[in-house]
């Protein structure tokens, strides 16, 4: 691996930076075509009902309405949910995917019928003319209720509501309690979380001149084209998504959104169709972070060695399975936190309800358990009369320590360094008891671990191709969905670094299902790890080829040559050199190959035994630490975040700006999750379905994020990089709530989200709001 890096690690501007800064980037909604129709989804009025009949005759008769479709019109209305995996993993993991509702309606947002019409207004109006005969049923909205025997069954296809049960166990939990001097126990609740991307779901579809169903839809998972082909009864070659950059994904565009509806409508009308969801439709409809009900019991010796932890988790899957089993694996595996606890038992169950379905959301099951275990550690420290920092220091995992599943993470574990750095920065001045205005000051630190790379039993892979042009510039082709995180640009940076070029010499053509090699999903914090490694592999072969050719021209062995400044140099005498372009010309003249494709495979494992997981589930983990200082007004319960320190071991930064951007963005993403962001679900209805009712922080609601980036070099990505996208929103929520706890001196009312000013005020007064 190259030692003297010129470009990697710098804040070089991304290839798309100017277009985005100037507002010239085109997104899904910016395209139009002649003869284009507008598509619209009719959604269920009720969260729980039985569909007795649908009369579309009036809608269909309306002039300007070109198609009205129901489940009966879909060639294959049911399939299993897939998320781009190359391997069938089968039972328990892949649930039912239904295009349009039939039988029982499972949630208020469920799609019942599709309309295509000449204008958006007309499509909207036609939906009101569709007569749906509902038999409204009771429904169930709390997974703790829905797992009970005799509960209302959400689906027409299952006998009960259970999606999955799983367990991780290590040591002897029953015997371990006797070793503990102190035990804490608590119930936690984490709220569903909205992704709140600026761009709602949308795109368009048409049939091209060769009968290919073609889409231009932003998605995190290009590979959905396979499911689409299956549902439409077409070969995989006849469904193509030439995707576009997204205005944010955060997991919300990991499930299929508009793709299937657009394809059906364009096939039914043989005209281009566009569909873009309104904000309300988006928030009512797309998946949310799983609400989790968690019970934790943790025991330690009086000198602060944690001996035992028992966890039970009930997850709300909502109306369908989607990614629930996978999120559940993440929650279950991460539940005991980055601590070395000899006796652990984690049991989890997920179940259907008539709420909006749950699926991927940045953090993927890691953030929920992180909130609970870091709150638990804080209360344990209080009971032990020990500083929370010291308690963490005494129990964190180090290199070589196994997870409760028995797997020993292979990358570096930087928790010791992260804790020290954040503590030093947060406490650079002694903490005042109060601010001059009388508000109490609180400080706290929380840590987290979050995997990067997909579940290893999915047998994940990525491939990219590059072509060196005859003028020495490079074309990168990569099916990498770009959500705005710079997923494509880092690949250019790796190529430019290795070939001694400028980043502007490399241009990426990305995210086309059939014209770019498939990189796999932009999910699971995997693109830098997977496609970065594929790119490194690919460019290394090209580099070797260039050095060999230069060697034959210059008459020095390849290992005495290096690539820099668009030239090949003799290392110990830079005056001896040859332009990169000239070398490429020679390779071309001699019939050498200037176009390459390379594939990187993650580690592969077998599907684990869900009843007792004892194996590797992921490639590696990234470690984070957040420090927060707050001021709390004890008379009103209102708090202000004064400082927010976000620290992460990135392994190696590839693009400094993008890396810092992820870590800052991650901190803000979940900064107010625990306290403010509340969808106000009431019996299956999302009361807060727009941004005037669902509150996300603006720049004045969070302080400047102070980022601390460690570069241990201990990751499995290129140059020792780790993934940072999802880990960076881990550990901020408990850091904030623990800082509030530090300020008010009690943990009362702080375990169940949303932790509002009202609850904090009650805590200050000593009122337990549950009693």
């Amino acid at each position: 691996m190259k030692k003297n890096l010129q470009l990697v690690g710098t804040a070089v501007p991304r290839h798309d930076a100017w277009a985005k800064a100037k507002g010239e980037q085109l997104y899904s909604d910016d395209f139009t075509m002649p003869q284009m129709l507008y598509g619209k989804v009719l959604r269920s009025k009720y969260p729980a009902a039985i569909l007795r009949g649908i009369d579309i005759s009036k809608a269909k008769a309306l002039p300007g309405v070109r198609a009205v479709l129901t489940a009966a019109d879909v060639p294959k209305n049911e399939d299993i949910t897939k998320f781009g995996q190359m391997r069938d993993v089968g039972g328990g993991f892949e649930g039912l995917y239904k295009v349009l509702a039939n039988g029982k309606v499972r949630s208020k947002s469920e799609a019942i019928a599709l309309v295509a019409a000449d204008t958006e207004e007309l499509a909207e109006y036609a939906c009101t003319l569709i007569e749906v005969d509902y038999e409204v049923t009771e429904g169930v909205f709390d997974p703790r209720e829905s797992i009970k025997e005799g509960a209302y069954v959400v689906s027409s296809e299952d006998k009960d509501n259970i999606v999955m049960r799983t367990k991780v166990e290590d040591g002897d939990i029953n015997a371990a309690w006797a070793l503990c001097d102190v035990v804490v126990e608590g119930d936690y609740f984490t709220t569903p979380h909205e992704h709140a991307y600026i761009e709602t779901e949308g795109g368009m579809a048409w049939i091209d001149e060769n009968e290919v169903v073609t889409l231009r839809v932003g998605t995190q998972v290009l590979e959905h084209y396979r499911t689409m082909a299956k549902i439409l009864g077409l070969p995989h070659t006849k469904v193509r998504n030439m995707s576009v950059p997204m205005g944010g994904g955060f997991g919300g565009k990991e499930d299929m959104t508009v793709e299937m509806y657009l394809a059906l409508l364009t096939l039914a009308t043989r005209r281009p169709v566009k569909m873009v969801w309104s904000r309300e439709e988006s928030m009512d409809t797309h998946a949310k972070r799983h609400p989790e009900y968690l019970h934790y019991k943790t025991g330690a010796t009086k000198d602060g060695k944690i001996m035992a932890q028992e966890v039970s988790i009930v997850m709300d899957s909502g109306s369908y399975t989607y990614l629930t089993p996978w999120v559940q694996m993440y929650s279950t595996q991460a539940a005991a936190g980055p601590y070395q606890i000899p006796n652990v038992r984690v049991q989890s169950v997920s179940a259907f309800t008539n709420n909006t379905f749950s699926s991927a959301n940045r953090g993927f099951g890691g953030t929920q358990v992180n909130f609970a275990y870091e709150r638990q550690i804080e209360e344990l420290a209080a009971k032990l009369n020990m500083s929370p920092l010291e308690l963490r220091r005494r129990n964190i995992v180090h290199n070589g320590d196994p997870l409760p599943t028995g797997f020993i993470p292979q990358g570096h574990i930087a928790l010791e360094e992260l804790l020290a750095k954040v503590d030093k920065e947060l406490n650079r001045t002694p903490k005042p008891e109060r601010l001059p205005d009388g508000r109490k000051v609180g400080r706290a630190i929380a840590i987290g671990h979050m995997v990067y790379g997909r579940l290893t039993f999915l047998h994940d892979s990525s491939r990219v191709s590059l072509r060196v042009e005859l003028d020495g510039s490079v074309t990168l082709r990569a099916g990498v969905p770009d959500l705005g995180g710079g997923q494509a640009s880092v690949l250019c940076q790796i190529i430019a670094e290795e070939l001694g070029l400028k980043i502007t010499d490399v241009h990426p053509y990305i995210m086309d299902t059939h014209l770019t090699p498939l990189c796999g999903t932009t999910t699971a914090t995997r693109q830098l790890y997977m496609s970065g490694n594929a790119t490194y592999k690919c460019v290394s072969i090209m580099k070797e080829r260039v050095l060999e050719k230069a060697s034959s021209i210059l008459g020095y062995p390849p290992d005495m040559l290096e690539l820099a400044n668009r030239k090949v140099y003799l290392i110990n005498n830079p005056l001896v050199n040859i332009p990169f372009e000239t070398v490429i010309g020679h390779i071309s003249n001699d019939g050498g190959e200037l176009e390459l494709i390379a594939q990187f495979n993650a580690p592969f494992t077998e599907v684990p035994d869900l009843a007792d997981i004892k194996s590797r589930l992921n490639p590696d983990l990234t470690y984070t630490c957040h420090g927060v200082e707050v001021a709390v007004d004890e008379e009103t319960g209102q708090f202000e975040m004064l400082r927010l320190i976000a620290a992460c071991d990135a392994g190696k930064m590839i693009n400094k700006n993008s890396c810092e951007g992820q870590i800052e963005g991650g901190a803000v993403y979940d900064a107010l999750w625990a306290t403010h962001e509340d969808l106000q679900w009431r019996n299956g209805i999302t009361k807060a379905n727009n941004f005037s009712t669902y509150l996300i922080p603006t720049s004045v609601d969070v302080p400047d994020v102070e980022t601390i980036i460690l570069e241990s070099g201990g990751g499995l990505g290129p140059y020792g990089a780790k993934g940072v996208g999802e880990p960076s929103d881990n550990s901020i929520a408990p850091a904030l709530v623990n800082a509030i706890r530090d300020a008010i001196g009690t943990g009362l009312n702080l375990n169940k989200m949303p932790v509002t000013a009202e609850k904090i005020l009650a805590a200050v007064k000593g009122i337990d709001i549950e009693k």
């Binding site: 619209k40 309104s278 107010l672 005037s692 996300i696 603006t698 005020l761």
Partner: protein
């Protein structure tokens, strides 16, 4: 409902003179005024104005966008944008509570569009900028083809969304009398995030005479069915020596007096509870701002 679409169709006009505006108001049916649109467009998107037939944009009338100094005060016309009010030196010097209330409202982009006239005509019980106008003794001026009239700001509101504004009538300006010497002000708002609608707000404007309160006016938002002017409690402070204890006692009286409801922003109990805190803080800082000491 699709909030990308305005459900009803309507006529739109943007006259260049006040006469034409009043003429349109008198002759057209179901007219709604577009000043900044930050409430109107949202309501249209939500389908809350199914009867609207005409949107009357007053931004074409130059005089309606002005802020004019009068011999005895300041006149803020209906189309003046909130940003122009908050950045006006005369407002900053003489009506700081109004400036603070405006700066506590929404986001910069909304304030670039929204108007003070709109904040009144929307007649929300939560309206932030209304309390300061009430407490500065402001008046609301209205015109129609029938003529002009003026009401005290405290008498403008009748019920949620309902004001004394009659059919065919346009709110033309909000008039603020010149403040007297030793006037102190305070505006306190509590929201969940910065650009939130208030959970509760209070304005206090008082005049000081030595160590006594010469007069005091208090108003609250989000505690009643309309912006609440606390007439009796404010008048009861006249002539009293200002102390911490008086501030506490008055705040308790206010908390006992109001009968707020709970909604999706907070509970009735919380509003009653924190009213004590913000009322005390407002009185104390208004007193200090008037040059008084405690």
């Amino acid at each position: 409902m699709n909030t990308k679409i305005l459900e009803n169709e309507f006529e739109y006009s943007k006259p260049g003179s006040l006469e034409e505006v009043l003429e349109t108001l008198a002759t057209k049916q179901n007219v709604r005024i577009f000043a900044g649109g930050t409430d109107l467009i949202v309501k249209l998107k939500l389908g809350a104005l199914p009867d609207m037939e005409h949107m009357l944009d007053i931004n074409g009338v130059e005089e309606l966008g002005k802020i004019e100094t009068r011999a005895d005060g300041l006149e803020i016309f209906a189309g003046a944008k909130l940003w122009s009010i908050e950045s006006d030196r005369r407002v900053e010097e003489n009506y700081p509570a109004l400036r603070e209330a405006i700066q506590a409202m929404a986001s910069i982009s909304v304030r670039n569009m929204a108007t003070l006239g709109g904040n009144f005509c929307n007649a929300s019980p939560v309206a932030d900028a209304v309390g300061p106008v009430m407490c500065y003794g402001g008046k609301v001026r209205m015109q129609s083809k029938r003529g002009a009239r003026e009401v005290n700001a405290v008498d403008f509101f009748l019920a949620p969304g309902v004001s004394v504004l009659e059919k065919g009538e346009l709110l033309t300006s909000v008039y603020l009398p010149a403040p007297k010497a030793h006037t102190g002000h305070a505006f306190v708002k509590m929201g969940r995030v910065k650009s939130d609608i208030a959970k509760i707000s209070i304005t206090a404007v008082l005049e000081r005479e030595g160590d006594r309160i010469a007069s005091c006016r208090l108003a609250m938002g989000s505690v009643a069915a309309r912006p609440l002017f606390l007439k009796a409690i404010g008048e009861g402070l006249a002539g009293k020596a200002m102390t911490e204890a008086l501030a506490q006692e008055t705040a308790q009286n206010i908390s006992d007096f109001i009968k707020p409801i709970g909604d999706n922003r907070t509970t009735a109990e919380y509003r009653t509870d924190v009213a004590k805190v913000i009322a005390r803080d407002a009185l104390v800082s208004a007193w200090k701002n008037s040059g008084g000491t405690l």
